[in-house]
Assembly symmetry: C2
Homo-oligomer: 464 residues x 2
């Protein structure tokens, strides 16, 4: 009998393990409240109208730009209008880079025919100081570039044709795989004497718009201009180079440049906690965006999600145990000065952060949440499954919180970071390009996201 | 001790119950094969290009129209080109209704001001025989109309303002709630002497396009013209009527009409089973669509999903145990003659159907499958959870198969029907209106759906 009962007891222990977190849940009370949250989000939700205003009344808002200043003003006003307990700005120092007014590129066939491509300078790139023209040397991916001899590359413009891996179901993994191409391509190529670098845009689909994004130079390495060309142009160029024995040339002109660092702000608002006002649960997204499109999915969605989550709780007269705080972070795209400064400020002013939630993966239909925390944090999150499944939230996994909230982890040992996970299939059609506009956000999907994030805040406030 | 061990044994029995289906699964082999299915769907998938062709080369394809004939030809050719074992047409009799060339409507304020509305005749409606004008009587929903006195309604045009319920997370439930408004509104109003009926379009979002869809008259009830106006127009009209003490009038002109029934076809292709060729697993969608838009999500997606699922299995050299059949059903939208005739034909010709899968909820990111079958069928479906979760498929529930495959249930006692469940948040923005075009389908989402359906066919063929 012992042989039978050993697995039996083990099974029971496993069940108990799972149910210990679940036992805490007041299922009826919580499911009623979460239903009220989604009713408010879906029937009287304001996230979509807030997003329209951020995209259309403010527009794209690159760190250091005039419109980023306007966005800060916009954020303060909207948060004040909602009547939160406190609304204030946290001063930070941020980088300042501008795209300029000239930005164009062509590839030239061996026969001398010029083909215009859609091109965007990568954020942080130097300009070309007039027209830059040179022979193209193509590499299928970054590894091939890293393995190549300096002699092959010297004086040429490097073209890295590496595509995002379409097989990966989570498209953020595919993005992660190409991230070093964009971030380090210029340094990799510059080290070997290249005079410029162009990359295939980090997009999963094939279309005519180029995708920008941040890049970094390395100390001691000659800085060279860096740009992305559209996936459609990249495919065409790659095919033509592959089929030809003669060299192709690239012609580019960009007058982007870096300016001195300047002052900017994170925008903060909160609802004071009734029981543990000194304990803070933060929810946020980033207020800055790239300077093309309108930063609708990236990360207007996160801004309006976060604001809406607190608005709903206030509207429903919810009295939080802990202080609930919304933060509109500045400068996620090209420096993360907002996130880093916020974590430092929180630590130095002794504000104990117990959890932080970030929405920075777009305004698509919600799938669930990632948690970056202890196994107890994961267990607690998974104990919400039954409550959240009616809203088609099924994904509760160990994972990544977000760029802005990431630095909090270094300052608060026991904090849990939660990343909102919407469906990722369409994200890289819109990311960092001209398509990231309000019209490409669906109202119901956006409002489902706000309801999901609001529900998680409610549950964490109650059970964490 | 007994008190402790009773729940223990119960717990063990529950675990065994779940694992009995799971125990059959060859996890490593299946997960490798399903990975290959998704690789093929995502990297070399042809569903998107097939959909482009169906939408652009054929276009909208209402039953009985010339383009429906072209669609049948298109279907036969595509299936033949894929080299399936047999490709043939099943002759059926179908209704034939045409929208005509004139279709317009205005509401007239008490001051006599005319406001043009976007209006679509409901499928099956009679025309107005010239201009129809009468006083409007508005009802907030169908129940209010059913409760009203004949004397209030006689000689008037009934406006049913009932909106879809935004609180419902599954938008198909919200659609179901309004379906009788569209289907029976004309009969309900006609019984009480109305001369026409207009309804608020069955859409979850507020926009300028009207949504058509089928309606039915009742024997012995006077037939009156029936149309849907856009949700934007409906909201405006409802508000103005509510705020006014004076009566509004409605002016409409439609020359739609019904023609005699005619001959059409379902299109069928199959891959013969190696072990049980007499047992059939059918997968399908409907080839007909409404005559506005391009029938991209409804149900071009289902057509290309089904074809792609079999193409992938063939491409991967999969030898099915059972015969796998793809059916392009005709006339789902206004009669379901294709589905009914297919079930009858299958039964009469002694073709044993063990399972049928339908894709008719759009080409959005997959969530999972509904099953309409026994508890063993549900248990088997749920035993696939671990295999399908990596592809973000989490929904495996008792539910609805589909309109086209529904009649098979009456003919085959032990059949299981499976409905493909993509995310439903955007569906009713596009359903039955001018927005249901190829451009509103996302390639990755469509191809994820094809991979999901293909994987289910593989698993059912192996384990059912």
């Amino acid at each position: 009998m012992k042989n039978i009962y050993t697995p039996l007891v083990f099974a029971l222990l496993m069940i108990s393990g799972i149910s210990s977190a679940q036992d805490k849940i007041e299922f009826n009370e919580d499911s009623t409240f979460i239903r009220a949250i989604f009713d408010e989000a879906l029937v009287r939700g304001e996230a979509y109208e807030n997003l329209r205003s951020l995209c259309k009344d403010v527009g794209p808002r690159l760190t250091g730009s005039a419109s980023a200043e306007v966005a800060i003003h916009w954020g303060v006003q909207r948060l004040q209008n909602y009547g939160f307990d406190t609304v204030y700005k946290q001063e930070i120092q941020v980088p300042h880079w501008e795209r300029g007014t000239t930005e164009q590129g062509w590839f030239k066939t061996p026969e001398g025919e010029l083909n215009k491509v859609n091109l965007l300078a990568l954020g942080g790139s130097i300009g070309t100081e007039g027209v830059l023209e040179s022979e193209i040397i193509m590499f299928k991916d970054r590894d091939a570039l890293l393995a190549a001899d300096q002699s092959e590359i010297e004086g040429k413009i490097v073209f890295i044709a590496q595509p995002m891996n379409q097989k990966l179901i989570n498209t953020f993994r595919a993005y992660g795989g190409c991230y070093p191409v964009r971030g380090h391509g210029a340094a990799d190529a510059g080290k070997k004497g290249a005079v410029g670098v162009i990359i295939r845009s980090l997009s999963i689909s094939e279309h005519e718009h180029a995708h920008t994004g941040t890049m970094r130079y390395e100390d001691g390495v000659t800085k060279i201009p860096a740009a992305a060309i559209s996936t459609k142009d990249a495919t065409k160029l790659e095919k033509m180079i592959t089929e030809s024995d003669e060299p192709f040339r690239f012609v580019m002109e960009m007058d982007c440049q870096k300016y001195p660092d300047m002052t900017s702000y994170n925008v903060i608002a909160e609802i004071k906690g009734a029981e543990n006002p000194e304990q803070i649960i933060t929810v946020g997204g980033h207020l800055d965006s790239w300077d093309v499109g309108e930063g609708a999915h990236d990360d207007g969605a996160g801004i309006v999600h976060s604001m809406e989550a607190l608005r709903i709780l206030k509207e429903l007269n919810y009295q939080p145990k802990n202080t609930l705080r919304v933060v509109f972070f500045m400068n996620e795209e090209n420096g993360n000065k907002g996130g880093k400064s916020y974590a430092k400020y929180a630590k130095e002013s002794g504000q104990k952060h117990i959890a932080a939630i970030e929405s920075d993966r777009g305004g698509f239909a919600p799938r669930g949440f990632d948690v970056d925390g202890s196994s107890e944090h994961l267990e607690l999150l998974q104990s919400f499954t039954k409550l959240l499944k009616p809203y088609y939230l099924h994904h509760f996994e160990k994972g990544y919180g977000g760029v802005d909230i990431g630095p909090l982890k270094d300052e608060f040992d026991s904090i849990a970071l939660y990343g909102f996970v919407p469906d990722s299939q369409r994200y890289f059609d819109f990311h960092h390009n001209h398509n990231d506009v309000f019209e490409n956000v669906n109202k119901r999907e956006l409002h489902m996201g706000a309801g999901s994030i609001c529900s998680l805040i409610y549950l964490l406030d109650k059970y964490l």
